[in-house]
């Protein structure tokens, strides 16, 4: 039995399962919710299968169509892919269950097929080993994300979604132009083959610029973050959670993979330093803007802008800091995904409860929604980077690298960002305890919506306790160990 199970192509199932469920949900709109929930649980189970397979047999790869690269397309799963697939599965299941309380039955046929296609795009993206295939997954991902962002149908959300669409398309086109140049020069779109051929040439630099700029736009790195706060804040709460936790991480995942696989020809650190400076600015700007917001969802969205900044701080550090920095980034991607999804679910609960999300009028919500407020507090601990959370482990490793290398500026920015994060988290918590001058009609919030938020927040904290085994899982395939060390 075990011998057969180890042979199963879990990774391929991860792509086909959400795709099939999306088709079924589209065909049978009345059953879309049940089909989707079943698919969500099966995806979680399949990720566990893939994880077990990777620990037993190491890196997995699949030759789609039976044609080896460069002619065909290969799929590839290593520890980093597994981390992202598992993050998507955990957040995906929690958000799926949450959404059954949030959306009315009439909205199921608008939400479920699109969300399942988005999930398929994420899984396919994390398994891709081919730059053109990555482009196709980005297209599926971007369009489904924009559609979900527009689901409320309000004027704000439609215009924010339109802006999001134009930004994400521009990012895709820049990415496509970059891979077009690479293909013409080096004759392949397979990452492994390209990594052997790409050298220090004009074309490589142009591709580096186009791909990095396109993906930075999609990841909402400062100053390309302009589309994110309105789009994430005006989407329905479960969608905001998916967008902030998973979708922006997906383009960062590609950037990191290509940076390590293709763009290691550049020894000069100008680009890395530039990304670091933009990241540092994002940390400060995002945090200050978050502090200034009067609406909870806008605050959480700007907090995403700031936390994305931390991911980019790693680029200058990795020049000399070796693999620990990239492990820290992977850890930050996981813990931010869990914590930020929890925060947006909390915001959805408060909005449902009070009919608004103005922070000053939260009106003793702590007494009436204790589970929800507890979720916000726990998620906040991870966002601030306090022990013993997952966010703490990630930021501690980054800070350690910054101090060891004498990057005092980066270390200072990280600490300042932490203090600002504490300020905006406590601002919300403070108003949750005091009565508001304008009382509001309270609507009851289904228990599953509260517990899903708490579950994700608790997992964000728990991620801090399992650092050792998690790092071992991430290390399967040694993506981070072979590169980024001293040249």
């Amino acid at each position: 039995m075990g011998a057969q199970l180890i042979q199963v192509d879990w990774a391929v199932v991860l792509i086909m399962l959400p795709l099939s469920a999306a088709m079924l949900g589209f065909l049978l709109p009345g059953m879309a919710r049940n089909i989707g929930l079943l698919a969500a649980l099966l995806i979680l189970f399949t990720v566990v299968g893939l994880g077990w397979q990777l620990t037993q047999t190491g890196v997995y790869s699949h030759v789609a169509g039976g044609w080896l690269a460069p002619l065909g397309i290969q799929l590839h799963a290593d520890g980093f892919s597994l981390l992202m697939l598992a993050t998507s599965a955990i957040v995906g299941v929690a958000v799926s269950i949450y959404s059954t309380g949030y959306f009315k039955a009439a909205d199921d046929q608008r939400f479920w097929p699109t969300w399942l296609l988005l999930w398929a795009a994420l899984n396919a993206l994390f398994l891709a080993a081919d730059v053109f295939n990555l482009y196709v997954t980005l297209e599926l991902l971007g369009l489904s994300a924009v559609t979900l962002a527009s689901l409320t149908g309000s004027k704000d959300s439609v215009s924010a979604a339109m802006r999001y669409l134009l930004s994400t398309l521009l990012g895709s086109l820049a990415f496509l132009l970059g891979i077009g140049l690479l293909y013409h020069q080096y004759g392949s779109v397979d990452i492994a083959i390209l990594s052997e051929r790409v050298n220090d040439s004009t074309v490589s630099w142009a591709a580096l610029g186009l791909i990095t700029a396109g993906l930075a736009l999609k990841t909402a790195l400062f100053p390309f973050h302009f589309w994110l706060p309105p789009a994430h804040a005006s989407a329905p709460a479960p969608v905001s959670a998916l967008l902030s936790a998973l979708v922006v991480k997906a383009s960062f995942y590609i950037l990191l993979r290509l940076w390590l696989g293709l763009f290691d020809f550049q020894q000069d650190s100008t680009v890395a330093n530039m990304l670091g400076i933009l990241g540092a600015t994002a940390v400060l700007w995002g945090s200050i803007q978050a502090l200034r917001q009067i609406r909870l969802k806008m605050l959480v969205a700007y907090s995403t802008v700031a936390q994305i900044g931390y991911l980019f701080l790693a680029f200058p550090l990795a020049q000399t800091g070796g693999n620990r920095v990239w492990y820290a980034v992977a850890y930050l991607m996981l813990s931010h995904a869990l914590a930020k999804a929890a925060m947006f679910l909390v915001a959805g609960n408060m909005m449902l409860f009070g009919g608004h999300d103005r922070i000053v009028n939260l009106d003793r919500v702590v007494q009436r929604l204790p589970v929800t407020v507890a979720a916000f507090g726990l998620a906040g601990v991870s966002i601030m980077g306090l022990p013993p959370s997952g966010g703490f482990i990630a930021k501690w490793l980054l800070l350690e690298a910054a101090l060891a290398q004498g990057h005092w500026g980066i270390a200072g920015i990280m600490m300042l960002g932490g203090i600002l994060a504490a300020a905006y988290v406590f601002k919300v918590l403070g108003y949750a305890f005091i009565p508001s001058p304008v009382p509001h009609q309270a609507v009851s919030v289904p228990a599953r919506m509260q517990w899903m938020a708490l579950l994700l927040a608790t997992l964000a904290i728990m991620a801090g306790f399992v650092a050792q085994p998690l790092m071992q899982l991430i290390g399967i395939g040694a993506l981070f160990d072979s590169t980024g060390s001293m040249p």
Binding site: L19, A64, W67, D107, S154, Q185
Partner: protein
């Protein structure tokens, strides 16, 4: 020989400048209707440019989808906008043209010039001739089941990409329906001339579509081109007031939309189980599998494009459930 080359260069030069000129006029034209017409013209000239670049497959797709159906979608969006905003009728711009501050203008110009210059430099430094993977494609063509290299790449060598592209197609109609709701075609203008024209054209279009589908196995053509012609036939029929099916309730139309992507997924699953790799066709059956996939994909592509056209004609159903 020399003279032919000169004429060709002159033609290419003219084509290039016309494309640039059309694009410029299209972007800076105050009248939205005129812009759309220019866009369609641009698509047709672009198709000719693809022919000159010896990419007939892309040329066909550009003419049918880029110029034809996108043009129809833009026109129907324009008609919708006109009912919302009367000023459009008199050729007024929909929105006042944004005025850039003079400093912003110069910054934007500088940035654009630098970007264009950098890209031009990179493109010029590319090798003038790059075989890419065409040798690899040609050497495996015999075992692909078809003799046209483009079809072999799309349906066999990189069939997995096409599977995901079919999912994008389904997503497009799911998006339009989830934003605008689903309903039947809007207002209809019939005229005797249009009716006769459509009676003559529809069978021809369906035949052309079938031909393009069939010929794709050994010459330029295939599911995307065939599907867009089929979609165009549907658009004509809808325009003349023939309700093809009741889009709102029809289970059949959902099945037609899903057929293409579902066939890909079913075959991927089947080959994964039987051959151990997704979309790995046994050489003996490759031709049949590809024909089956392309036929169902044609149906789905045609239906999707038609449904996009019909969907864009309907009034938006706004449901505010944001709990604000």
């Amino acid at each position: 020989m020399e003279a032919v080359g000169l004429w060709q260069s002159a033609f290419d030069l003219m084509l290039g400048f016309s494309l640039f000129g059309l694009a410029w006029r299209m972007l800076f034209c105050a009248d939205l209707f005129k812009s759309i017409v220019l866009f369609i013209t641009f698509g047709l000239l672009m198709a000719i440019a693809w022919v000159r670049l010896e990419a007939p497959d892309v040329a066909l797709a550009e003419a049918t989808i880029g110029a034809g159906l996108t043009g129809a979608l833009l026109m129907s969006a324009f008609a919708k906008l006109r009912t919302l905003d009367n000023s459009l009728k008199s050729g007024q711009p929909l929105l006042p043209r944004p005025r850039l501050h003079v400093i912003n203008f110069w910054i934007a110009l500088l940035f654009t010039v630098l970007l264009t210059g950098g890209l031009a430099y990179a493109v010029l430094s590319l090798p003038s001739h790059s075989p890419g993977l065409s040798d690899a494609v040609m050497s495996q063509l015999d075992s692909s089941g078809v003799t046209h290299p483009v079809t072999a790449v799309l349906l066999n060598f990189r069939g997995y990409d096409t599977l995901l592209e079919m999912a994008v197609l389904l997503l497009s109609i799911q998006s339009v329906w989830s934003m605008a709701g689903m309903s039947d075609a809007g207002e209809v203008h019939t005229s005797p001339v249009l009716n006769v024209l459509i009676q003559l054209l529809s069978p021809v279009l369906i035949l052309v579509s079938a031909y393009l589908l069939w010929v794709g196995a050994h010459a330029p053509g295939g599911a995307f081109q065939a599907g867009s012609i089929l979609g165009a036939a549907g658009v004509l029929l809808v325009l003349s007031g023939r309700p093809l099916f009741n889009l709102k309730k029809s289970w059949l139309i959902r099945l037609m939309l899903v057929a293409g992507p579902a066939a890909f997924i079913a075959l991927a699953t089947l080959t994964l189980i039987n051959e151990g790799q997704l979309l790995k066709y046994p050489v003996a059956n490759a031709a049949n599998y590809i024909l089956l996939l392309e036929t169902l994909a044609t149906v789905s592509i045609g239906t999707t494009l038609l449904a996009l056209f019909v969907g864009s004609q309907t009034e938006a159903v706004q449901q505010d459930q944001s709990h604000q």
